[in-house]
């Protein structure tokens, strides 16, 4: 069974119809890249799946649980909504780190707040906090930031900040990790370090959905590519095929423009 199912998803902002019926599945352990020009609806799609925006109609399920379903009358409780949120992680284009906390605290904060709800919190407070800390340190080591635990976000480069934000999302142990143009706010020489981290996650079979403008990267890291234009999926399939041998005119046009620019 697919870990993520999106069915006939629609979303409008006022009279602007941004998503016009999106359908796709994602299998566990796979990497999906979503490409397309600005305004094609890629980011809105991500924001609907991560519940930052409410879709107008359609259906989204993560791990078989409804995140959104316009047909189903059942209204999700606050607790269910929060549980759904925890099933997905999101890495923002602009990092959105908490500036007043250290790198380590940025990664542990949400985990600590979650842990307070556990029954054994009172009894094993110290032990739970230690677990959270050591887990966060492991993850930060994985993204190459062991040296920066006590730094503040403002003391880090953009690439380092984005790696902290990836670590922060990973610490919540999400089923699926989403990336919203994770390298778009970075200088070109810093994108490499982010792409390397994402590649290592892919090697560990982390399920990921990546909205990106890095075509070569999308081709190399993904199992599947979706090309969006004007709020619909125009073309999708095997990365080699979509990037190197697109069938649709709009895909060809888009990729050609990219080749000219790079």
């Amino acid at each position: 069974m697919a870990i993520l199912e999106v069915r006939n998803l629609h979303k409008s902002f006022g009279s602007n119809h941004v998503l016009k019926g999106i359908d796709f599945d994602l299998e566990e352990g796979k990497v999906l890249s979503v490409i397309g020009s600005s305004g094609s609806g890629k980011t809105t799609l991500l924001r609907c799946i991560t519940s930052l925006e409410k879709a107008d109609s359609g259906k989204i399920t993560v791990n078989g649980n409804y995140v959104f379903d316009s047909e189903n009358e059942h209204k999700l409780t606050k607790e269910e909504i929060r549980k759904n949120r925890l099933a997905v992680g999101l890495v923002f284009q602009s990092f959105n780190l908490f500036p007043q906390y250290t790198v380590l605290k940025n990664v542990t904060l949400a985990c600590e707040l979650q842990a307070k709800k556990r029954d054994e919190w009172r009894k094993n407070k110290k032990q739970i906090l230690e677990e959270i800390n050591s887990n966060a340190k492991d993850i930060l080591a994985k993204v190459g930031l062991s040296e920066k635990l006590d730094s503040y976000p403002c003391q880090l480069s953009g690439g380092q900040q984005q790696r902290v934000s990836i670590a922060r999302a990973l610490a919540m142990n999400p089923d699926i990790l989403f990336f919203d143009e994770p390298t778009s706010a970075l200088d070109p020489e810093l994108t490499g370090e982010i792409l390397k981290v994402i590649k290592s996650l892919a090697a560990e079979k982390m399920t990921m959905v990546i909205v990106t403008h890095e075509m070569a990267f999308a081709r190399d890291v993904s199992d599947h590519i979706i090309f969006m234009d004007g709020g619909v999926i125009v073309e999708q399939g095997d990365p080699e095929q979509v990037i190197n041998n697109p069938q649709n005119e709009r895909t060809k046009h888009f990729l050609n423009r990219f080749k000219e620019n790079s």
Binding site: Q100, A110, P153, C154
Partner: protein
């Protein structure tokens, strides 16, 4: 004579500091409540609060002092003229014997709460949406988001305008003499009236300057302390 004047001015300045401290104590928290009211999604409440803030910020504090102090007495006089005063009028009339100092504190707290509320609002609204979204995807509740992530950043942002407003408050306390509360300007003035001495009035500046100097240093320290990060 110098010492006599100094002692007397110090006594007056004691009242000044009292008005200052009590106003802060009341207006800092009340301002936050007014702020939440003015940002409420419930439109009638929001507009009621916004109108109130407009009235308070749009009229002189001196006038508000007079209204708070004399208003209830006028209501009482009017209540005696009508046959069946309702309980609101009776309640207001019962305030007519309020002492001058209480009136000053009530007027100052309300006035400064409105100014503070706007500073808070500016601070809260300047926090980027991305901070809220990051909290949301990390499964934090609204109150966790506000207290664990937003509040600290708001405090850092409102410290400079707050410092400004608080220094203004020190000087505004001199308005209390409008309703004959014995603060430092009043006590200096009494030397002019009884002994024909003008210099005690000029001398009061030293008291204000020293006090505001201390506040400036204090706010500088707080700002420096919060400077360990920037956005």
């Amino acid at each position: 004579m110098f010492w006599e004047v100094t002692i007397d001015l110090l006594r007056g300045f004691g009242t000044t500091v009292e008005i200052f401290a009590l106003t802060l104590l009341g207006a800092l928290p009340l301002g936050l409540i007014v702020c939440f009211g003015s940002m409420s999604k419930f439109a009638p409440l929001k507009w009621l609060i916004k109108t109130f803030v407009w009235v308070i910020r749009g009229t002189p504090l001196m006038l508000q002092l007079i209204v708070v102090f004399y208003g209830p007495g006028l209501v009482a006089a009017w209540a005696e003229d009508i046959a069946n005063p309702n309980f609101i009028i009776s309640w207001l009339a019962s305030w007519s014997v309020m002492d001058r100092f209480t009136a000053v504190i009530i007027a100052f707290v309300i006035n400064y709460a409105c100014y503070f509320s706007e500073i808070y609002r500016g601070g809260i609204e300047s926090i980027p949406q991305g901070q809220y979204e990051a909290c949301q995807v990390l499964g934090m509740s609204k109150s966790q988001t506000f207290f664990k992530v937003i509040l600290m950043q708001v405090v850092k942002r409102v410290i400079p305008p707050m410092g400004n407003e608080i220094i203004t408050l020190v000087k505004d306390t001199s308005l209390a003499r409008t309703i004959a509360v014995y603060e430092i300007i009043w006590s200096a003035q009494s030397f002019a009236k009884s002994d024909g001495l003008m210099w005690p009035m000029f001398y009061t500046a030293a008291f204000y300057l020293i006090f505001n100097g201390l506040l400036t240093v204090l706010f500088g320290k707080i700002e420096k302390k919060l400077n360990y990060y920037h956005n």
